[in-house]
């Protein structure tokens, strides 16, 4: 393609070409790792400041705006503060585990970025079972969370960790189930193949992204909700619900270890948002042919940023759930809907491609259970609410 599109690949080839031939693959891999870490490290710094500013704007206030122009140096100040803070380890804590937990959380999260295609031919390793690798790596964070909770020797840490485990295991089911129809559609577990399967347009102008099908839209919603819970974000951030649990499994962490937990959490969010872009939003594909002058990695970044904004927007809007609501919501609402979505996707692919009928049938298959489950999943039919203060 054009030079701008492959600028990172050319840069990589040029830099790796400077190294002697025997170590060239190693150097190239290290360069990719350094690039990814730099890119998403910057992303993390930017996300913290932009999230705080956006949250502020949504709550009728300025966010941080004191450090540097528009407060943009705030992450720097935060970083320095975190680095020079005292690192407190509780007297009765299991010192080794307490030290290892933040590392065990952050390291696998970095590995998840290895399989994401950030642009045309731009994934660090092209695994045939990339999505499987992603989910396997993603579930390693549960171990780290429980390490943190257990080793702190603190009841709040432990209860927070138990909650986090319950939540993560529960929401991993709808997360994976929501992704399965996409795999069915693409017929592959490899993420570049999944992106490739979403190329082209239907009806002359609608891109063939999965989100523009009924099962894709439902799958995206389910995936988004489950991803919010997986990355412990509002409204599912009750493992660290400060009103009940101080800070959950983070209670006994301070200084840079605390920052590492935050880094891990944000990177997990980025990884899962990148996966959502890949699975449902067409990955790095441009929405139309005439927009392909914009580089593919630029499209990925744009969709990725929009998704992160959506996460922040939801966080600014919704209050925290209760634990029983959270688990009931996963098992009684998301999991059945994800299974029904699987069935609807199967129906979609069995029907002939006459658009209208396929659309209506598939949408009906999803809408009827949605309404029914939405009204009755709790066992009680809710009264009509009056939002007196929201109007």
């Amino acid at each position: 393609m054009n030079a701008l599109d492959s600028i990172f690949i050319s840069a990589l080839h040029w830099l790796a070409g400077l190294a002697p031939a025997p170590v060239r693959p190693l150097v190239s891999m290290l360069l990719i790792i350094a690039g990814l870490m730099a890119a998403f490290g910057t992303c993390f710094a930017l996300a913290t400041i932009l999230e705080r500013k956006t949250l502020g704007r949504m709550q009728n206030r300025f966010g941080p705006n004191r450090v540097g122009p528009f407060g943009l140096f705030q992450p720097l100040a935060d970083g320095i503060k975190m680095l020079i803070k005292e690192d407190i380890v509780p007297f009765s804590a299991d010192k080794t585990l307490h030290f290892l937990a933040p590392l065990a959380l952050t390291a696998p999260v970095w590995m998840a970025f290895a399989v994401l295609p950030f642009g045309r031919n731009m994934s660090a390793i092209e695994l045939d079972a990339g999505i499987l690798f992603f989910f396997a790596i993603g579930s390693a964070s549960e171990l780290a969370v429980f390490m943190a909770g257990w080793s702190s020797q603190n009841k709040y840490s432990l209860v927070g960790a138990m909650r986090a485990i319950a939540q993560m295991i529960s929401y991993e089911v709808p997360l994976v189930l929501a992704a399965v129809p996409v795999l069915m559609a693409a017929g592959s577990l490899s993420l570049p193949d999944i992106v490739q399967a979403q190329s082209g347009v239907a009806l002359g102008w609608v891109p063939r992204w999965n989100i523009f099908t009924p099962w894709g839209l439902a799958g995206f919603a389910l995936f988004f909700i489950a991803a919010t819970a997986e990355s412990n974000r509002c409204p599912f951030d009750l493992p660290e619900g400060e009103s009940e649990l101080i800070a959950g499994y983070l209670t006994e962490y301070s200084g840079f270890k605390y920052a590492l937990f935050f880094l891990g959490e944000y990177l997990g969010l980025f990884a899962v948002a990148g996966l959502a872009v890949t699975l449902f939003l067409g990955g790095w594909q441009a929405p139309a042919r005439w927009l392909e002058w914009f580089p593919s990695w630029g499209w990925f970044a744009a969709k990725f940023s929009a998704l992160i904004f959506l996460f922040i927007w939801v966080r600014a809007t919704l209050p925290r759930l209760r634990l029983d609501q959270l688990l009931n919501f996963a098992w009684k609402f998301l999991v059945p809907l994800a299974l029904i979505n699987l069935f609807a996707a199967a129906v979609w692919w069995k029907l002939p491609a006459a658009m209208a009928i396929r659309w209506l049938l598939c949408a009906g298959l999803l809408a009827v259970p949605y309404v029914w489950l939405g009204r009755h999943w709790n066992g009680v039919t809710p009264k009509r609410r009056h939002y007196g203060y929201a109007q």
Binding site: N60, R61, R375, A390
Partner: protein, 186 residues
């Protein structure tokens, strides 16, 4: 539970977000040290003593009657009476304070002293940026004394009423004096 409330909430936060860039009602924060809201007239912080005329200590209205010190729930006022008497604004001979201290660490800014003062001498101030260099916890008479025009400036309504009442009293006293001096002259 079909998510309609969630969508409505999302719309509200969205309106806040984009409104915060052009609609002042959607961005109500006042960035305090640079921007300040006009202070409310009835706001009150610590007490101060009013003086008339030019000299703060000579013009104090306080007569060292100690009602405020007695009524103060926190007992933060300390008054020592001077031995000499001076004429007040009506010409009556009154005591004056030699020492008038308010312990700022104890004062809870309730305003009872200002309410019980029969001489309109102690009133509530409106200063609030008190944490600065050279700050003292016990304010003495010299720190507490502030001119009457300052009182008129911070609490215009109350000051106008006080001034009117005092002028009326002064007029009556002068009329009485004139009435009593006229027969003496004739």
């Amino acid at each position: 539970m079909l998510g309609r409330g969630i969508l409505r909430g999302l719309m509200e936060t969205w309106r806040n977000f984009q409104g915060s860039y052009y609609d002042p009602a959607r961005l109500t924060t006042v960035q305090y040290p640079e921007e300040k809201l006009p202070p409310l007239e009835n706001a009150r912080t610590i007490p101060f003593l009013i003086y008339d005329g030019e000299d703060p200590l000579a013009g104090l209205r306080c007569t060292a009657c100690s009602i405020c010190a007695v009524e103060c729930p926190a007992h933060c006022i300390e008054i020592v009476k001077d031995t000499a008497k001076k004429p007040d604004y009506l010409g009556r001979m009154q005591f004056h304070p030699k020492v008038f201290n308010i312990d700022m660490a104890v004062c809870m800014e309730c305003g009872i002293c200002a309410e019980v003062c029969p001489f309109d001498s102690i009133k509530m101030d409106r200063v609030f940026e008190l944490s600065r260099d050279g700050r003292r916890m016990v304010l003495q008479m010299r720190d507490l004394a502030k001119p009457n025009h300052y009182f008129r400036q911070i609490h215009p309504t109350e000051a106008a009423a006080v001034d009117a009442a005092r002028a009326e009293e002064q007029r009556k006293a002068q009329a009485k004096k004139a009435a009593s001096s006229v027969p003496a002259a004739s």
